[in-house]
Every structure is written in structure tokens, then in C-alpha cells.
Symmetry: D2
């Protein structure tokens, strides 16, 4: 298969990893510029740092292909225990980064491909599975990072790929050659291009022309990556680290639009072609594997959100305020319910004909589905607890300024000796994780919710309502 | 009272208004710099634009003090109709700005002061009410913008002002002079300093030393303003207008920390001093008046959010997708429930002894309280509908670049001839209103919620569950 | 029109009203029996009591048809003030009954018919409106109770009326005569038959054959009423009043299936026939008028639920427990939000071409829609607060038994001298209003929610999570 | 220990079990009567049937005490696999009964006692653990049903046991004898007395006088049981089985107040006495074990609710209605999230010093906590889908009546040949499970929620809102 020629030996350390990215010289467009020193550019460093963490924190597995010790992110799950270890590690590592580590989608795509290529071969007598095992062996040996390219840009979603005004709104084959195929089209939402070596491309649609699965190095000629903007993205380019929120990492993975402009893919890197009856199985195998993770990685991030929120509670002197504790209990409840989903679908995993293990589909789906509400709720509760300062906090430059810095230090000092800087750091971390703060005004403007609740309780005339109830319940109070 | 000497005639137009700000030369610190050309600085222009809108859109009232036509934002409500007009106008003007217009908190503080000074005079024989009427007449005549300074920085919230380690964590009087008082301390969350002429300062606490209400021009010597950071604040400094989201306005008002460093206030601008038994009434009168608004202003912004979201539905070709329509119905339900609260508390308003009308306290409180959940829910639903592109969209600079711009235009083209640029503009507007997008990953990563729901329905084995029910219900199917 | 011959003079008092029902001898089937002494049968007395309350509590309006003082429930709204008075009275009277008073649907149907007949006449030159005004004059003069028959039994809901296997699944005309029409079919959910004089029948469907609106006395030959079972319905037949929950009233209106078996309707009682383009307008006019009410009547019932719940809080000695107070605040918030909807849609009502006033459609719809969630939430919170005893309370017969009664009195005694009987009465009232208690086990089995929250807070290791956050926020604790 | 003399051999079958109850002659008061033929009385048969199911469905474990095959409900968990088997079986058996099987609380109390007696002995050198093992061996050999008595009646909850006006509001020792102790007091919420052989009594409070754990046969002299009323309890006494909802079983376990009037307990049945520092551990061990179950048993019942709801969807011809499918997806999501909690806390269980395995505390707590919301939400959604007929359905007696029965059969016929009787049976089952239907009026009165949503969408003027958004986003439409 298409090896990455600049990587000549297995990547042992985070430094090896960073150097491998430098050597690949993958170009990413951002803000109208073509950036070629991605791993050393401040816009991308926080994203690369999160991936590098997967090289730093010990997470080994034993390859069933070679028997060697490998990084678990390149492992094909051989047991329920593997599935459980995956999600437990995801919670742990996300606690350390509070940032998507960008390596699970690749692992999930690889496991899906492993499972489905076996099935295709069984039905059609093809040889995709062996071909893929070679690819896996290579990834495992060199400890490479693979990402997935799943979602086409789609255009009019009420139409199928071949009904679109422009056929390139879905990636598709435009030429078949003796040695491979040529593909065109555009994909959205590629997470982790800045830190990846390989990309695996899935076509979701069940029409023959649009059915292909392949891999290629991310720096393959003909692919243009354009980086998506993120909330507060340019704070990564600012001096200082307080306003970044997360001093070392980004808050999410960082996504690109990828445009495939007549990209050549040799046959050895093609793992499905025209067997469109398996397109759905690919998508589902990937989706279940990927949805398995969300209660764990978001649970890990929620742990950090909870920790930072708790720090603000302490800084405000409110550790014993019962309405605050009640909201913290709700945050815990959601965090652990998310995690319970990831655990349950892993423990209830099963073996596929390929020998690989996959999570329980139903439980994986409810796990992901719960994140789509709970993460927003967690943010809302954290905003409620943290108070309006979360959205009105001055900049680090103000804090550092000789004239107004001392004024801010005095004005923003917290309880129990917690300094203004510490409060700022925690609040910025909450801001970073919770994805922005404009709606804090709806929360805290005109007073926080608790202030309204106190007024409601005072004005509700509960004794009068009790009298109404007593009359209807046949309680005669005059006898007393 | 302390007039603003640089304003020599009534402000009739938005231009007059902007010029008046230039003349005042109020300084605001931001990013470690002291900015003195506030109304012409790109960081503040979007905020000033929103206030300027209140000079452009017709919103007159008749002063009960002078009988003259005045701007309604400087009006003391003389009827239920005035209360209703206030909230209806708020919805309308927020539909035009999708940004806090920063003038209602001042109006609410003025109305509260009007109501409470009357009561203090009745009890203590003081002369605050007449003094305040003079101030109001001045504001009305010159059409000035007043803001409120309500929230002290507080430090340890489990302690009262006089128990704090530092007495300056609450604004308080440090010296009494023949001609006035000297105040010290810090306030947080001053909305709208960049566009204001006057500030009215409330002390919330019910201890004698900390009980004072006064007004002063915002550029009074001794006050230092430090601007709070907001999500994506520096996009206001970038070229182009797409990435700003809201091309002309900010998304919220813009808040400052204000540090009062021995500021002198003449007696004629003091509207309560030491009558601490009225401190609670001030706060409550202000709070009810201000909470009255939230269903209307947030309702107006929600209208824009809904409109932008609907634009994306069209661009995706999904106007007939029933699960999408269902979410839109939920958005409408919340928007109109918010608004119903503002209307109800206004219509149920009543006259105070001062003659001014105030909203119903209970209903005003539930109105504001509902925004603290519904606004977050509205954002969540919009994120759900808009799809992952909301959080992975490239920059305007990329769209404008001669090499990759055309690629993006092609890749991001929408249904029904909606262009990539239009989609980008609408998505950025959603991003701007909904306060950031980092948690979109929790929504759309591994597929949007609907994709999980389809899987759940498929895997739920509903026919089998029906059999369980039939057995328990005593339904015998074998007879068929 | 078809007058009710047994009613010879206006009904002035509740006694007159009860006697009028006796005289009509309307038959209702229940439990396989044909009951003809409806107003004196224990199954129906609690329902009739609630309607009788509308004769007892003063609620007058001035007829625009005759200028006379009439019961407001027979009034055609002539102003916004009428709309507001309607909902305010609904809240008040439901506070007194905690039971549907069964007279608003009739009023709403009458108002809708008034509005739409005017429009039909305008378009088709028919004479429905005058005909209907005569009917209204009669109702007003004699102070009669009208109910609505709206919902057909429908069969297969994916099919239209004329596609059904059985044409009688929707009420329709089977014969046209010189003097009137003959109708057949079945309607579900007729609220308040047991206390009604007249019924007004709407056809919802927009096909010519199925388009008719008419009225008739409830005891018109050919109509069979079959009473629906309700939760704990037979407790109305038991001795004692504690276990009934609501000692005097039912909890809901009481619904019948009504089967029309070739019922003759004279032309003078027909208010639409074949003008099927107005069928939708009838439904909508009725629906908006009826949805207007729900925040008020359910708000009134919620007041009683809140009062009873508060009584239990006192009986448990928990008035100061903050987690309890927090739930009470949520109950208040929902109750008042419901009510705010009813107020807002009333105040925002407008005049129709007929001269009658109607509520704002959008706001009326959100009002009703909110009840479909909030009422369930209110019940849930009440169950949470009341504790498991709500669902495990022994019977009144046990309390009254000489041997075990004293044991129960001792065991169930409350705080502050509140007796076991008082507790039982309040809990049974909660049970009655909240519609049953089987799911209390899910609430309180294995301990109430608060007991789990305490454990979660204890086990969440918040200090450890704070350390994770501090590291990411760049806070160095070792320096301390 | 105190053996039950009437049970002379192991209970192998459900018949053996029923006979053993007859022989015990335990008396339960209900409706003011002392019932002594409990297992043959129609009020209790449905409850006993559910317990009997645990003798019918195969659920074996291997005793670690004797090596013999025993009923799993009398097993002390020896592995994670035991914990998982427990919850999986609970889901399965509750799918068969839709009714609490009343045997898990006993198992959980036994496991807790096993774990804690070991710890007490370690600390104090007592011999409780061996004593308890003998008791367990007896239960296992004879396959007896044990229930728990946990919750004291408590009186004023703001006060501790020894602060209460009446010391008997908590069970406590009133006399110490050579051969045992005498206890007095009252307990609430004893689930399953009607089907139990043994009861195990816990004292929750951490004061010495009130610290005791003991077991006794349920028919021990001196204990008075008074049965709690349940929603629709007397339907169990009616003819026919449709209106019961669940033809064979009750909907919940059936709870008693138990009054201990100087009950003698021999030392051999006492498993803690005065070691009050372990009272908390008993409660917590029991609570975690019991909370572990709730996602499984309620999940099983939710399966039946979902099945019955799906049956009504079919009867209404609405299987393809997308808003219905959307609500079903929500029901599935909650059901499986509940179950995921039970699975996760079981799989994450751990070994205690006693050798017994216990579930993870945090995850068990969130599991139970989720049921306190989700069960109510499931009911609400089912009510939404089932329509108003759920609460207005006539009685079985009406259906069986020769005159009106055929009318009902015709009027209530469903789609696809589903008969009126089948619809009634399914609706009554939903009614039975969802705990009553009075609040259905809030759901379906004035039309179901979907009817309001349609109106909202129609009236929301989305195109106008889009124009507002386009203006703010800088989209110029005139150029087109």
C-alpha cells in the first residue's frame, strides 16, 4: 500500500510524532493562507498537542496480527475487555486534555473496515480483508494516526448523490485505471487533519457509482484542506495563556473541508468498490463503534468542567449553598449517565464473523444520543453556577497591565485566598469547554435564576393555596 | 445636577448621538489598552450601533413631567399601555439588531428610582423625588442614554459587605462632605458603557454604610472601566463581515468592570443615602422592571435565530422533513412562551403611590426565569437543525481567496440556488447568536441525533414488545 | 329551535339547575347499567357539583343581544376585557373545585359558532347567524349549560371519513328531510354530559358529506351516552370522603362516548351544512378559544396541588429544607407560566367581523401546548415532595376502625400537631389531582431522589476533578 | 433461628409457594377488614401471582454456602457475573409481569446484611456473620421469600428519632431479655407482605437506641399490617379482566404500614445491635444494591408500556406518522438509558471483604435517580401517543352488555381489523402501568399537542423571520 515515505521508523515518542508531521509537510488552508508548518503553527499546536498525548500516556494493546505490543488506538478489538478498555481510556485521557484527542474516529473506521471487508470477501470472494490486514499491520508497526473522512458536503439533502446538480457534492470515482482509481468530490468535517498521517474515506451512499472505501496518506496530491473556524480560534494566536482557557490544548479536534480534485488511489488502498450493498454496513459499523465513545470522552471533559465549576464555587465561598449543590448533583448525574452508556454498550459487545468485537448497537446509539442533550445541559448548569463574570471577564492583557492589573487583582479576588488570576483561569476554562458565552446574558442578566426563585417563593402565597386545598380535602380548621 | 457639559443640545439623530459620545471621550480599557475613541473603535462600533438604533427607530412617548414628546426609553410608565408598549418595542427592535440595545436597564433603573424615591420621601420627609424628577427632565430633554451599575464584585459571597476582607469589594461611601460624598469600590457587569452618557449606581445591601443610590456621567473622574471579553470578540477587528455573524451589531451589550476610586458625587445626584430599609425596594423595583423585558428582547433575538435556522433548512432542501419541522415547532413554542410572559406581566401591571406603573412581580420573575432555560434550549435546537457545518465552516478569507474560494463556493453550494456565501452568512449569524459552537461536536459528531433515532427505532423490536403487552392485556392472538 | 320543554323558567340557583337535570332524565350508561337519575347518582354527583359551582359563584356579563345580565359562560365576548375576565374567572373557580367545571368548552363552541356563522352568511348569503343568535338568546335567558361534541371516533386515522370501512366512524347526515336532517355516527370525549342541557356538534372534516354543525338537547332521542371510566372512579361510590381525595368534586369532567343513531335535527338547529370550506374555520375558532383557557383552569388546579403539597411539607416538618423549596419554586414557575399564556393570548385578542372578540391564535396554542408537559411535571414534583406515603396510604375504613384506627393515628401523626387524618386528606387530594400514583414507586422506591443526590455528591470526588481543571487552566498549586 | 414451622419442605413450585402462604395465615388489614386468606383473596392474588412467577421462571444460582442449586433471589453475589445476571433477569421477568416481583428488595437486604455483618465482626469480634449465614442457608434450602422493612414512619422529619414527640415513630428496642429483645414502633412502605415468608428489619438511624437489624417470620405475633390503597385497587375485585389492565398481575408490589407492638425477637435473629457506627453502612449497602435494579425492572415494564403503545399506534393506523415515531424513539432512548445504568453499575461491581460482590455505588445511584424522571416522561409520551380515549374508555361491563356492547364494538373498531376489545385491553394496560390518567385531560383536551404544533408552524411567519436574519447576516436579496 501507499506508505508514507518520510516516516522511516516506528514513532515511539511524542517528539517522533511531531517530527513525522513536520516531515510530511501536509498543507492546510486557514484564514486565506496555505499553512505548511502545521505542527509548529500556533493555530494548530493545541490540536497536535492533544494527539501527542496519545503517544505520552501509556495505553498498550497486543496486536492479534503480529503479537506485538502496539498503541491501543491502532488495535482491532479482540474481546469485550478491549471494548471496555477503549472507553475507560477515553475518559481518562479526555480528563487530561479536555479536548478531543482525534484518534478514536480513525480507530473506529479501521475496526469497521476490518469487520466489513471480511463480510464482503465472504459474499463476493474478493480479497479486501487480507489487503486491509496488511494496511493495519503497517499502521500498528509505525504507530500512525489515521482519521476518517465520512460526511459528504451533500448539497440538497432531499436528493441522492446522482440527483445533485453537481456530481462532486459527493466523493465518487471519475476514472478507473489499471493500477487504481481517480476520485473527485468534497467531504466535510474531517477531524484531526493537522495531526494525522493517514485518512480513510467512506462513502455513505448506496448507489454503485458512489460506493468506495479507501485510504491514503493525508498529504496525497490533489487533496485541498480548508480549516474550519472555531469559537475564539484566534485566541490561540494571542500572547499569554489565560484567555485561551485551556492553556495547552484546543477545545475540539479542529475540522477541515477536504476537496478531492482527481486524486489517484492505487487498488491496494481500496477496501470496497461497487459492492454498494455493504455501504450501509460500513456506515453502521463505524457509527456504532464511534457512538460507543461519546459517553466516555464527553464524560472526561465533563469531569474537567465540573472541576472548574467547583473551583468557582469555592472562589465564591458557596460550597455549602444548597441550590448550588443541587445543580452540581445534576451535573454529576448527567456525566455518569453518559459514562454508564459507554460502559454498558462495551460490556454488551459481541464477536463478529471477522473475529473482531463490536459494541452493542442499541446501547451505543443511546449513548451518543444522550450527549446531544446532556452536554448542552451541563454547559447551562455550569454557566448558572459560575455567574455572569464568566461572560464579562476582562482580558489577560488587562490583568498583566501595570496600571489596571493591580486594580483587577483587588476587585476580582475570591474567597479563601483564591486570587483573581486563578478565578480568571477557571472561568476561561469553563468558557472554552462550554463553547462560548453569549447566552450567559440570558442566564444572569437581571439577576441569576436563584434570585427569581426567591421572589417566586415569596410571592406565591403558599398559605392561601394550602387553605384552598384544605377546603377541598375536607379539612375543617375552625375546630382548632 | 451634574450635567454633561459637552452636550449642548438635545440629541435628535443617531449622528448627534455618536458625536455626543466622541465629545465625552469616555475611556475604556480593553486588551491592556486605554481606548479613548470608543464610538469609532471597531471593538465598540457594533455595540454603539445597537444603541444608535434606538435613535433611528421611532419610539416616542409623552413625558408626564413636561408634556413633551420624548424617547420612550427615558419615559416613566404612566399606564399599563406604557408597560405593554415597552415590551412590544423591545421585541421589534431586537428583531432588527439581534443584539442587546443596552438602553432598557437604564430605563428600568430610572423607573425604579422614581418609584422608590417617592416612598422614601413619604417616610422620611426627604426630598429625593423632586431631585430625581429634575434629573429625569434633563435626561428626557437631551435624550440621553443611562446605564445601570448594580452588581458589586462581592468577593466571598457567603459574607456580607462589611465582613469582607477588603471593604472595596462593594461600592461604599468613604467620605461625607458638605457638597457631596466620595465613593469607592468595584462593580461588575456594567452593560453598555461604550454607548452611555449617564450611569446610575445602586447598592444592593441592607447595611447603612453600603446604602446609596446616585447617578453620574460615565466619564466622571475616578472611574476606571475595563471591558470584558466576549466570544469571538476579536472578529470585530477582522476584515470582512461574514465571520462577524452579525454584520452590523454585536451579539450582546458588552460589559465592563467599573472601579470607583474615590469618586466625588454631589448631593444633587444622590437619590438615597443611609435609608437602608429601602435598599431592598430599589433592587426589587429594578429587578421586576428589568425581568419584565426578557421574554421580549430574547423573543426578538429568537425570531432572528429561527429565521436564520429556517434559511439553513431551505439551503439543505429540508423544508418538508418532519423531524426538522418538529424541532422548529419547539423553537416557536419557547419563543412565544417567553413573549407571553413579558406581555402578561405588563398587562397585569399596577400603579404605585408615585403614580408610575410597574409590571406584576410574579409574572416578571417567571418571564426572566424561563429565559435561563429556553435560550439554551433554543440554541441547542438550532445547532441540531443547522448541522455540523455550523462549527466547521471555513473563514471568509478562504471564501474570498482566488485559489480556494471557488472550490468552497462549489463544495458548499446549497439547494434551490442558495449560494455558499449565503449559507455561510446564515450559519455565522446562528453561531453569533447562539454564543459559540464548541459543543456542536457533542451534537453532530458520530452523526446527528436523528441518525441515532433511526437506529433505535430499527433495533427496538417493537413487534416483540407488543407481544409482551398483548399477553398481559389478555389478548389471545392464536384465535385469529 | 328545539327548546327543552321541561325547563320552564330561567335557572337562577344551583338548586334550580339540579332540578332541571332531574327533569330532563337524560340517560347515561355506566358499568353496564342505564342510569337515569344522573344528578342524584353518586357516580355523577361530583361532576354535577362542579358545574353547579358556576351557578353559585358570581360571574355576570351583560348580553350584547338583550342587554340583560347573564352568566358569563353564556356570553359572546365583546371586548378584550371579556377575554381576560374569562380566564381570570377560570383560575378562580378551578381553585375552588380542583375539577373541570365543564362549562368552558360549551362557551367556546358557542363563540366559535357565532364568529363563523357570520362569515358563512357573508359568503353564501345564508341565514345561519340570525338563527344562531336566537339560540344564544334562549341559552342566555334560561342560563343553560351547553357542551361540545367535537371528536369523532375516527377508526383508522390515516384515512379520511369517506375512506373508512364503516361510514359511521364519523358523524354524518344520512337523510335530508323537508324539516331537518337525520344524522348517524359516533363521537368520543364528550365532557360534561351529566350536567348539560344542550350539546353542540361540530364536524371537523372538510368533505361535503361530513360537514355539519348543529345543536340539540342532550336528551334528544336516538343518542346513547356511555360513560368513560376514570382513575379511582368507584371511590365515588364508597362510604366516607377521605379516599375520594376531593371530598365534593371529581377530578376531571367525566367523558362519554356518544352514539348518534339516526337522530333527527330540525333545520332551525343547524348552523352549517355542506359549507365544508368553513369546517376548518369552525375547528380553529373553537380550538383557539378553548386552548386560551388551559393555562388558567390548569393553573387553578395547580394552585390546589401546590397548596396540598405545601401542607405535606409542613406535616413532614420540612418547610425549611432547601431542596424541597427548590422544587416548590419549579412548581410555581410552571403554574405561573401556564397562567401567563392564558393572560397574554386574552389581552392580545382581537375583534372578528362578527363583532365577537377572540384570543390570539399563536399565544393560545402555546398556552395549551405548555400544559401537555407542565401538568405532568407538576405532578412529578408533587410526588417527589410528598414522599412514598402518597402511594402506600391505608384506607379511610382502616382509619375509622376501632382496633387499627388508633394505631394509624399514632403512626402517621405529623409535625406541629398535624394529625394523621389531615395528612391522609391532603395526600388523597394530591393523588386525586395528579391522576394516580402507580409510578410513585419509580420515584420513591429505594429512597427518594434526594437520597441518591447526596450519594452522588459524596462519591463525585470533586476535589480531584478540580485538580484536573487547575492543571489545564495553568494554575500551579505547588507555589503555595 | 426462628423457623417457619408450617413450612416443612423446600418450596419447589409456585403451587408449593402458594400453599406455604396459606399455611402461614399472615393477616393483613385492608378496607377496615382483617384478611387472613391473603393468597386467595382477590385483592392480593395479583400481587402473589407476580411473586409466584419467580418460582416458575428458571433463574438458578449455585449457593456459595452449600454448593447447591438455589433460586437466584436467595443468592449472595459471588462475582460480577452474578450482578449482571441479577439485572438481566429483572428486565426479563418484569417484561412478563409488568408488575414489581417483590423479591429483589429482600435479596438486596440479605446481601447488605451479609456484607456488613462481616465488617462488624471484624471490628467488634461479634458473631453476627456466622449467625446470618445460618439464616441464609435456611432461606436458600427452603426457597423462602424475604422482604425488607426499611423506612420508619418518621413523624417530624426535621427531628431525630429520639427528639420525636412519640418514640414509636421509629422502631426501637423497649426491652432487653436474656433470650432476645422486644421491639416497638412503626415502619411504612413494606413491599410484598402478601407474598412473603420473612421480613428483615433495618434501622436507619445512627443513634445507639435505635440501631438494630433483625429478621422474623412475617406472621410473628405483635405485628399489625395495614395495606395501602393503590390507584384503581378495587378493580381487582370487579368481574372481568379488561378493566384491570393487567389481567393477571397488579401494577406495583403492594405496600403495608407495619406496626410493631412489643414484638419479641430472639438473639439468633438479630444481626446488629447497638453498633450504630454501622447503621449507615447497612443503609448504603442496601441502597446501592437496590438502586442497581431500577433501570432493569423499570426497563422491563417500559418494554411492555412501549409494546402496548405500539399496539395502539397500529390500531390507529399511525405506524408511519413521523411525529409518533419521534416520540417512540424518545421512549426507547429513555428505556435503554435506564437499562444501561443497571448494566454499567453491575459490570463495574467489586468484591467486598466478606467475599460478596456489590454494584458500583455512583452508577447505581444515577440509575435509580434517572428512573425518578424517565418513568414519568415515559408515561407522558405514552399518554400523548395513545390519545384521549385512554382516559375516556367505557367499562368492560358496557362492552359485554347485549344492548350497548355491539354499539361500542362498532364505534371503537381500530384500523387493520383490530377490534374494540383489543384496543380497550391495550389502553387499560397503559392506564394500569402509567399510574392513572386524570392528567390526560391536560394532554388531549382541546386537541393533542400535535394539533397545536401544526398551528404554531402555520402562524410563525417563518419567511418573515428569515428576512430579518438575512438583513443582519448581510445577505442582499435584491440582487437576485
Amino acid at each position: 500500500m501507499a506508505k508514507i515515505m518520510t516516516i522511516k521508523k516506528p514513532l515511539g515518542t511524542a517528539n517522533d510524532y511531531r517530527q513525522s508531521l513536520r516531515d510530511m509537510k501536509t498543507a492546510i488552508w486557514a484564514f486565506g493562507e496555505k499553512i505548511t508548518n502545521v505542527p509548529d503553527h500556533p493555530l494548530f499546536i493545541p490540536h497536535v498537542n492533544a494527539v501527542a498525548k496519545t503517544y505520552e500516556v501509556n495505553n498498550p494493546a497486543t496486536s492479534h496480527l503480529t503479537g506485538k505490543t502496539i498503541n491501543r488506538f491502532n488495535h482491532i478489538h479482540q474481546s469485550v475487555d478491549d471494548l471496555v478498555k477503549k472507553v475507560k481510556f477515553l475518559r481518562t485521557i479526555n480528563q487530561l486534555t479536555a479536548c478531543c484527542i482525534q484518534r478514536c474516529a480513525g480507530q473506529d473506521a479501521l475496526n469497521a473496515t476490518y469487520v466489513v471487508t471480511y463480510e464482503i470477501d465472504q459474499k463476493y470472494g474478493t480479497n479486501y480483508h487480507e489487503r486491509f490486514k496488511k494496511f493495519m499491520t503497517y499502521l500498528q508497526e509505525y504507530n500512525l494516526v489515521t482519521i476518517g473522512a465520512m460526511t459528504d458536503v451533500k448539497g440538497d439533502r432531499s436528493k441522492k448523490p446522482n440527483q445533485q446538480a453537481d456530481p462532486d457534492l459527493f466523493v465518487h470515482v471519475v476514472e478507473e485505471r489499471k493500477d487504481g482509481v481517480v476520485v473527485r468530490g468534497a467531504k466535510a468535517h474531517l477531524t484531526g487533519v493537522s495531526g494525522a498521517h493517514q485518512v480513510i474515506v467512506f462513502m455513505r451512499e448506496d448507489s454503485k457509482d458512489y460506493s468506495i472505501v479507501f485510504s491514503c496518506p493525508v498529504n496525497t496530491p490533489g487533496i485541498t484542506y480548508i480549516f474550519g473556524r472555531q469559537s475564539n480560534d484566534t485566541r490561540k494566536l494571542e500572547k499569554g495563556d489565560i484567555d485561551k482557557g485551556n492553556a495547552e490544548f484546543a477545545c475540539v479536534g479542529g475540522e477541515c473541508v477536504a476537496i478531492f480534485d482527481n486524486v489517484f488511489i492505487p487498488w491496494e488502498d481500496v477496501f470496497m468498490y461497487k459492492e454498494y450493498d455493504f455501504a450501509g454496513m460500513f456506515v453502521e459499523a463505524f457509527a456504532s463503534a464511534h457512538r460507543q465513545n461519546y459517553g466516555a470522552c464527553k464524560g472526561g471533559i465533563a469531569d474537567v468542567l465540573l472541576g472548574a465549576t467547583y473551583g468557582i464555587i469555592k472562589a465564591n465561598g458557596l460550597t455549602n449553598a444548597s441550590h448550588i449543590r443541587d445543580k452540581v448533583a445534576d451535573m454529576i448525574n448527567m456525566t455518569e449517565t453518559l459514562y454508564a452508556g459507554s460502559l454498558a454498550c462495551s460490556y454488551e459487545g459481541h464477536k463478529t464473523p471477522s473475529g473482531a468485537f463490536v459494541a452493542d448497537t442499541m446501547l451505543a446509539n443511546i449513548t451518543k444520543h444522550n450527549t446531544t442533550k446532556f452536554v448542552y445541559e451541563l454547559n447551562r448548569l455550569s454557566h448558572d453556577i459560575c455567574g455572569g463574570l464568566l461572560a464579562t471577564l476582562p482580558s489577560e492583557a488587562d490583568l498583566r497591565h501595570p496600571e489596571i492589573g493591580p486594580k483587577l487583582e483587588k476587585a476580582l479576588a475570591g474567597a479563601a485566598g483564591i486570587t483573581a488570576e486563578e478565578k480568571m483561569r477557571l472561568l476561561r476554562l469553563v468558557d472554552n469547554i462550554s463553547g462560548g458565552t453569549a447566552c450567559v446574558e440570558a442566564m444572569h442578566g437581571a439577576g441569576p435564576p436563584q434570585s427569581q426563585r426567591i421572589m417566586m417563593l415569596r410571592d406565591a402565597k403558599l398559605e392561601g393555596k394550602l387553605k384552598l386545598a384544605e377546603k377541598l380535602a375536607g379539612i375543617k380548621k375552625d375546630k382548632k
